[in-house]
Symmetry: C2
Subunit: 434 residues, 2 copies
């Protein structure tokens, strides 16, 4: 029966032993929702996890199986990637971002998680006097956990008040300290679904050039800003990227969301040739070679996992080839998420909520994988707890480096169409109860 009573909620929070009064981690939310599902007998609506809700492309399944039948499962993968994947990734960069990254600079990793870990490992050690990362937040909290695990430090700021031209002086404030090696952001952004405008990307590039900083551009949601359809190979519009404005970049292209391939753990790092071919003597403290590309392949990726699963490299190569050839339109598949977001936003707005991060420049953000909401008079943690009583599970922006501690992240991926009337009813009940 919904709503669950305040007492049942409190008892379960106590039982779980939530670490902090003000913060609930994603894992704690998931477990709490599981416990409350049991207690109430009601299936919860899951907005908390950023996991794909679609099937992986059949073409990948077939390519993996073919690779396995050929016996590749017994053979160590080339650490720098199979030729086919490198070539298709290079073509993909040209076809969909309109940048030139030669195959040798396209390296597979075991998901963008590993790609980012490896990028921190190498890029943050190119200059012994630097070593910090600057996060343009909000962002994925695990990237900060990666730095902590590596014993590295970071700066961060919430971009909310520094959109457009204001971004430049804000970046300069941190970069002028002289100890930053890398800037990291995601665009489309997790959790807020903002996208940097071309003006903003140019500012980031200009600052990277000025302060000799490598930009780690996390394209985890590649092509998923559906306001522009980038899905025709070799034709504008292209997916925006800082790589159009600087040669100091590493693009992290993930298979997980855009290609519904999260289970198989694969991504491609597209490393600017200018970075890839540079020598940084300070790398020799940690690696066998001062050359960036060499250290990345034979020290970082090699010591992390001896490369990426062989059959999965074949699967991802098949996906990218089909995109390059115009045989597979990955954007069509992910339009499903936009449909869900459009419906959901309406329901939230109809019931007293508002959107936290709502504009890119003058333009409203697109409908996609995530959006952010708040409700008048409640902190983020209060809102999470109250929504749980109505069978709705979500996470707070306070764990994502946002200053908007009243905001929640809503991930639409698990909301299949049969749940539309259910969420409508629950949100109305929630709003009427307040």
């Amino acid at each position: 029966m919904l709503p669950i009573s305040q007492q049942t909620l409190d008892e379960n929070i106590k039982k779980l032993g939530v670490a902090s009064e003000d913060k609930i981690s994603i894992r704690e939310t998931v477990r709490l929702a599981n416990m409350l599902e049991k207690a109430s007998g009601e299936k919860f609506i899951r907005f908390e996890m950023g996991v794909p809700g679609l099937k992986p492309p059949q073409i990948a399944i077939e390519a993996e199986h073919e690779a396995n039948l050929k016996g590749l499962g017994a053979i160590y993968p080339p650490v720098n990637g199979i030729d086919e994947l490198k070539i298709e990734a290079s073509k993909f960069a040209k076809n969909f971002i309109n940048i030139n990254v030669p195959p040798e600079c396209c390296l597979p990793a075991t998901g963008s998680m590993q790609g980012c870990f490896a990028a921190f490992m190498v890029a943050n050690r190119t200059d012994a006097k630097k070593g910090k990362t600057l996060f343009i937040d909000p962002g994925f909290p695990v990237n900060k956990a990666q730095l902590r695990a590596l014993g590295m430090e970071y700066y961060s700021f919430d971009v909310y008040n520094y959109r457009g031209q204001k971004l430049e002086s804000k970046l300069e404030e941190f970069l002028s300290c002289g100890d930053v090696s890398t800037i990291l952001y995601s665009s489309p952004n997790n959790p807020s679904w903002i996208n940097f405008t071309d003006e903003e990307l140019q500012i980031i590039a200009r600052m990277a050039n000025k302060y000799n900083v490598i930009v780690l551009e996390d394209l985890a949601y590649f092509g998923m800003d559906l306001r522009r359809d980038i899905s025709t190979p070799g034709q504008p519009p292209y997916n925006p990227s800082v790589a159009n404005y600087t040669d100091k970049y590493i693009i992290l292209l993930s298979g997980s969301k855009s290609f519904s391939y999260a289970g198989q753990r694969i991504s491609v790092m597209m490393i600017s040739p200018a970075v890839f071919n540079s020598n940084y003597p300070d790398l020799l403290k940690y690696f066998g070679n001062a050359n960036f590309g060499h250290a990345m392949i034979f020290d970082a990726l090699y010591t992390l996992s001896t490369g990426t699963t062989h059959s999965v490299q074949c699967g991802f190569a098949a996906i990218l080839r089909a995109c390059n050839n115009g045989e597979y339109n990955f954007v069509n598949d992910i339009r499903e998420y936009a449909k869900r977001a459009k419906f959901l936003k309406e329901q939230f707005l109809n019931n007293g909520f508002s959107i936290v991060y709502e504009l890119d420049g003058q333009e409203p953000i697109g409908d996609g994988f995530y959006f952010t909401v708040k409700y008048p008079g409640l902190t983020g943690t209060q809102l999470i707890k109250k929504l749980l009583r109505y069978g709705i599970s979500s996470i707070g922006l306070n764990i994502c480096g946002s200053e908007h501690t009243d905001g929640l992240r809503i991930c639409v991926s698990q909301l299949s169409e049969d749940l539309f009337p259910v969420i409508k009813e629950r949100l109305e009940k929630f709003h009427n109860g307040n």
Copy 2:
């Protein structure tokens, strides 16, 4: 035409730009052999790479495909492993090592490379006053590169002169410094194929207990010491392990060699429950939790790659289940390597070579994946170069932490039976030419 002239060899070495006069890395050897193959028109015999030469088990190929057809490729794998793999790994530990490791303490990693990286990350940070690894060498040089990449330090010694009872005081010499957190060795050993005797494993365990050190036991060649057939589940003899004598261990069980599954990058860490459940406050500097198991799963394995490829977890679970049920005898498959080793050793011994590491206690080492050779009057590097002239490629023990710098490692995996007469002829030609 073989032998290749000294001049051609020298020219190619110069062209490649080998970094050191005294050392040739594996990668340099591979490239040099490729160049000389081209120059001579003769196919080389490849002893340099420790890669499996058999097909992966059909049962794994089928299980992977089934998982993919079910759509698991789109779903993030559980970072601590799918239940089925954890359960089968726990049973495997009981059936083939005769130890009790509950499923929760069995964690998949993206190959033992990642398993070892994660083990260093966590175990070497359990005590801020410690932090070094002690390598019982010879060993796999990349494990040292992992520590370097992590900014960690190590001790090492060649065990050749410290077998049996002598091992105790040698270990104590290092451990009594008080700054060692972990001991790492492989048994069967890469490169020497020695196996620690039960007496030696007991000594290692005793020292680990005395100095509160975690033993990282790399079982990359599990069951491949064919002097004892450990392949019947639940029946002695069992695979030897230090875990029989101490509760301070992490076993690294690799899929790569014993199960011919190297391409798919999977291993299982079997962590002693005593370690897994311990709290180490010093971990909090790097991780979100002081509990070893929690830090290993949600900090190390999560930040390294968000777990291990979903379908491959299903594939490895299927292999282990078939072993546990007595339906698949993995030792029968790898007997092929012993056949090759037996033949090859004879050829080397007939032609003036001798075995470097030849005994475990009083017993000659078994026939398996590797063995070591030397030739009178030549250093290791001289011998590598001379053998290259006869179309034979190998690596030196000097890059593996061995003091026997005249020794070479011979890996038999690539020597299929049709090459038997070829290697016989080349070794005879080599010997007669000296």
